[in-house]
Symmetry: C2
Amino acid sequence: MNRMARIAVLAGDGIGPEIIDQALKVLDALRSRGFTFSATRAPVGGAAIDALGHPLPAETLALARQSDAVLFGAVGAPEYDTLPPPSRPEQAILGLRRELGLFAAVKRVAIPAALTHLSPLKNGRASGVDLMVVRELNGDVYTGQPKGERPAPDGPFAGQREGFDTMRYAEGEVRRIAHVAFRMAERRSGRLCSVDKSNVLATSRLWREVVTDVGRDYPRVKLEHLYADNAVIRLISSPACFDVILTANLFGDILSDAAAILTGSIGLPASALLGDGTQGLYEAGHGTAMDLAGRDMANPVACIRAAALMLRHSLARPDLADVVDQATDAALMDGVRTPDLAGTRAAVGTRAMGDAVVARLGT
Amino acid sequence: MNRMARIAVLAGDGIGPEIIDQALKVLDALRSRGFTFSATRAPVGGAAIDALGHPLPAETLALARQSDAVLFGAVGAPEYDTLPPPSRPEQAILGLRRELGLFAAVKRVAIPAALTHLSPLKNGRASGVDLMVVRELNGDVYTGQPKGERPAPDGPFAGQREGFDTMRYAEGEVRRIAHVAFRMAERRSGRLCSVDKSNVLATSRLWREVVTDVGRDYPRVKLEHLYADNAVIRLISSPACFDVILTANLFGDILSDAAAILTGSIGLPASALLGDGTQGLYEAGHGTAMDLAGRDMANPVACIRAAALMLRHSLARPDLADVVDQATDAALMDGVRTPDLAGTRAAVGTRAMGDAVVARLGT
Ligand SMILES: CC(C)[C@H](C(=O)O)[C@@H](O)C(=O)O
Ligand SMILES: CC(C)[C@H](C(=O)O)[C@@H](O)C(=O)O
């Protein structure tokens, strides 16, 4: 990308704006390496409800569409929990995924040997972990129709109120996300684990069949299937066994967060949300942590790593992505820690953590 | 229960028969304390497919119905994976849950201070864990109709093959499992955490509303709601915060196993499957571990603990349940370990582990 990169910055609620500021500070520091970009802000989530009456206003969506990449903070706050579901802050991220055609969420979870002490796992179990979770992001019970409330049509509870949703995947949807995961496994160790619940779900049986079929195009990748319950057991007991994990939207929501916390904080790994082209949305992928908001206490590392993923996947600057990742690792290894990582030791604030990364960029 | 307890013994496949034998040995040793029982065996799972052509033969179901309690081993083996879903070994456990009206699975996960070294978690995180997972076992996407395969009705993949399932809960179904969990929380520390995904699922919105409503009958219980992704994060990072966890069938499948592995092995905690009356099904709740079958290597502890749960909940002998649990704890604390627990240390076999528990019954 020779022309200027256009980044849409959607900071959102809670700690969103604070962590975004640190990521932008790191990107600014890369200007001296010839990286030029524009960063245009727009409201999203609760902030957009307050300002414009909608969690994903048309102007915000238009800006996102015209950008090369979206850098996303976090959305949601308890005060909006009483709104009807279609009006809540979370609709912003669900809407962006749908409108930008982002059907793959990719999260890398690595625990460098020097940082196993941060993991909730015993050091021997945490060491050597370097896995990717590839989560389908557009289908499944998230978006399947119909869903809602109705009188129970039959059975012992007939006539009572019933909540219901439709879980579903079409063949083509499984096929395109499977290709993303197989290509990734090919570039990495050549091992792919597809997670489903095909002993119970018809949706999973189609999933398993299609993934197996796509696998025929990748003879160098060793494909394994695991049930979701067994996958979470293995993720906790021997996560270093995994390389690439491929899974559906709902299981992926749970498994990506289970994998993320193995690093010691959901404030560490970031997510790339990708579609067919090079455009992507990049986020820390944790919540708004309202209790920390405005207190210079949030961990900006995941948001800084999200910026690195953006450089790698949407802005064609993998060289700078490496620079940012290495500076971030270095800061952590030097013992710079926000409160979520510090335990009983001394901690630094959000801004100081951002400064510590900038100081190690070697620019 | 003054008359003789009638136990239906369904050992099943793989390591099932071996671990069941150890549990029966422990029950036999309680005869000297005035515990009288009959144990009648019947085939189930793959063993029943081989013998009688069906994973849950009518004779087996009839025996289970007439019993005070079912002691269940494990079912399933790779050789049956090519059968159509309704004929597979797993249908036996799904059928027993349905036919016996077992709508609640209750799993207790405790890590005694002396056994934190077995946990995959750092000792400080594992210590103090003592939680119960209450999982709804009859509804949800497991049994909701319709499910199957069809041409995708609409959207960008219209006409392609689509796998689909129906997620659903009726009000009364949520109400009865919520009461089980609230009563349990009342008897324990008075804290209940209900897990759902109400930011995405209509089924979860009804779930949350009904659980909140049932909570009004239990003013002494403090109710909290967590999204499933946040629940698994907390389960891995600070499990000692939980007391009683209440959740739906699918989330419960994943969360019970995530909780179980925190003890160090899914071969340790057991499950009680309960309905409206005192009849229950008791199981280790892990798989058939075909690689260990017939080798005197499986861990019988969960199956022995299942027998203790049976004494407590179906056979009105909580005194003997305590005796068995204490003997089991004592064996583990004395360092008696099957291979799954031993790491690089010396291990004993399945039978020797059973003997070690019997030796500590103090009978
Ligand atoms: C906010 C919520 C709808 C979302 C999800 O469940 O997908 C979140 O948990 C995530 O993983 O990005
Ligand atoms: C065997 C399978 C159908 C079952 C389930 O998913 O419920 C198992 O995983 C369990 O938890 O008992």
